[in-house]
Symmetry: C2
Subunit: 341 residues, 2 copies
Amino acid sequence: MKSTIKDVAKKANVSIATVSFVINDSKPISEETKNRVLKAIKELNYHPSKSAISLVSGKTGNIGFILTDDHFLRTEPFYTTIFLGTEFEARSEGYYILLTSIRPDFSEEDPLPRFILNKSVDGIIIAGKIPHTLIERISAYKLPTVFIDYIPPTNNYPLVLIDNIQGALLATNHLINLRHTNIAFIGGDIGHPSLSHRLYGYKQALENANIPVKNNLIVVDAKYPDRQHGFNSAKKLFSKNKNVTAVFACNDAMAIGVLHYLNDNGYKVPQDVSLVGFDDVEADIMLHPPLTTIRVPKIEMGVEALKLIVNSVKSKKSLPKKVLVPVELIVRESTSLCKTK
Amino acid sequence: MKSTIKDVAKKANVSIATVSFVINDSKPISEETKNRVLKAIKELNYHPSKSAISLVSGKTGNIGFILTDDHFLRTEPFYTTIFLGTEFEARSEGYYILLTSIRPDFSEEDPLPRFILNKSVDGIIIAGKIPHTLIERISAYKLPTVFIDYIPPTNNYPLVLIDNIQGALLATNHLINLRHTNIAFIGGDIGHPSLSHRLYGYKQALENANIPVKNNLIVVDAKYPDRQHGFNSAKKLFSKNKNVTAVFACNDAMAIGVLHYLNDNGYKVPQDVSLVGFDDVEADIMLHPPLTTIRVPKIEMGVEALKLIVNSVKSKKSLPKKVLVPVELIVRESTSLCKTK
DNA sequence: ACAAACTCGTTAAACGTTTAACCAAAATTT
DNA sequence: AAATTTTGGTTAAACGTTTAACGAGTTTGT
């Protein structure tokens, strides 16, 4: 039933080598025979066996994709969207993605992802912050690796990063342009470079505008930047500072938490408080008002990561290229002109 | 660097066949040689080449997992959690999962997932409702297939289903036990068997309790059961029916939409209206009050699906077994005794 | 006109496993 | 003690590709 290269060769009246050359056009073949072969391939509905190719080439044609359980399952489809971008690009490149998640508290004893142990991938994409012990143990396998949205401690990997500083500048400047001066920053998980860069950009924007940076307007002690922590941080912020007129949250998840707090406590958004998020996860269409935020091109990030990894797989010399994807301010209805009374 | 079976054989002073027999224990080998081989394997850090095994066995060791984009990206981590269960079980069974998503409006011209065309999977798991044209085209490839949470038109596949009727009975009976009689049902996408079964169970529970089923309390015209549609359906329901004291929403997403509507419009939950969801997606920890719902064992569903598919892959005769996973009522704070005035 | 260089192919080895067929030695049966 | 079975192993073919090495015709250069 299943046809092989041999069947094609027989049908086209050529050797199997010729068929191979036609498929990969790795050697010049006359138009005429080429067509005969192509025709035979079509008629037999022939598809090369991946295992045979793998065996002889030493490549698997697979790329491993690693993220933590919580990133995979979190409400805001951030990393999953990135994954989709990777999968999408993998299709055109002829690769398969092996997705696996690990526990965020991955420890020394936990086993590495199978595809690494069994060498069933040619390269690895790691999305988001993952435990350093895992990074070290993976690096022993000398597999091409690229990181998405995270800067690993030993910084000689290809990276796909968000232009976080630029994004934070855009967000904060937007608020400054709306005449706000008491602008708070709500963040979390400061160990993550993305989030600390956003804080940095926030400070930078204030300084550029000659607005003093006040530490009591910066709440960054949340362990994880999700809605619940956004809510809690907002509570902490507003119970001590009544004069805050604008909040820049380090991501949409926390911004949504802030919004809930504000709604619950009689603050009107944007009349009383303007609010800007980051990521544009389009999480909750129910949100009112719709959130002004910084759009991150998630699909493109996945695409870029796959391109990078394919590159280092193919050309053994992997120069640790960094791709900084651009961001964009999306103004919706959660921000408005500051009413200085 | 990479060691092969040959290296192991040499080191252990046996033939490669013996090594193979030890690995798969497919033939009796004396304890002594077995230990020698095992030792050599460990020392060389030998891992069998998957491609070589694939080539000779004709099996790929991969399972394809298909769902629609919107299911993959939706805010409530329902199908993604199921996927995680599948991935988890695949690890212990030694399989890899190839995840791919398709557009919900998959049409005749769209290409099938690559892993089907290239025969790089031994079987397929399909999660959630997918277009019938896709099902038909896949079936031509005669690959073992199991469906999760969907009943395909040609019903001779192994299936992993939720005990939806039981769940709907539990939910509705819970409300009836709380003395509610004006119990509404909010649903959507009635073409999905899961959701129509939930409606069925709702009606059944009312009939069992001798409560008349009123059509104006049943809103099922939503196209897709998400938050936004839940919100809209609630609006439709409550603007016409002021005396509704309880709502059973066909899933948590719609329930959350209903809750938003109620909160926005001055209804207190559960004091004025009791609300029950379905799925227990733990989507929004911010929700107040926390939602009474029907827990669906999502991880277990993924595990069961993988077991089924491995079964039909291994034993060519795949009897179309159906697995009905049990559900459980989780009482939280969105339901309370009806205050009949 | 003859060597040199292309062009378009073919042959056969190699990749790393599994497994059918075979076999020697030891154990068991008669 | 001879015949038979069991035990524990080996040899070699097969799986479906890629690719190095080779070669027969044809073209080009002088």
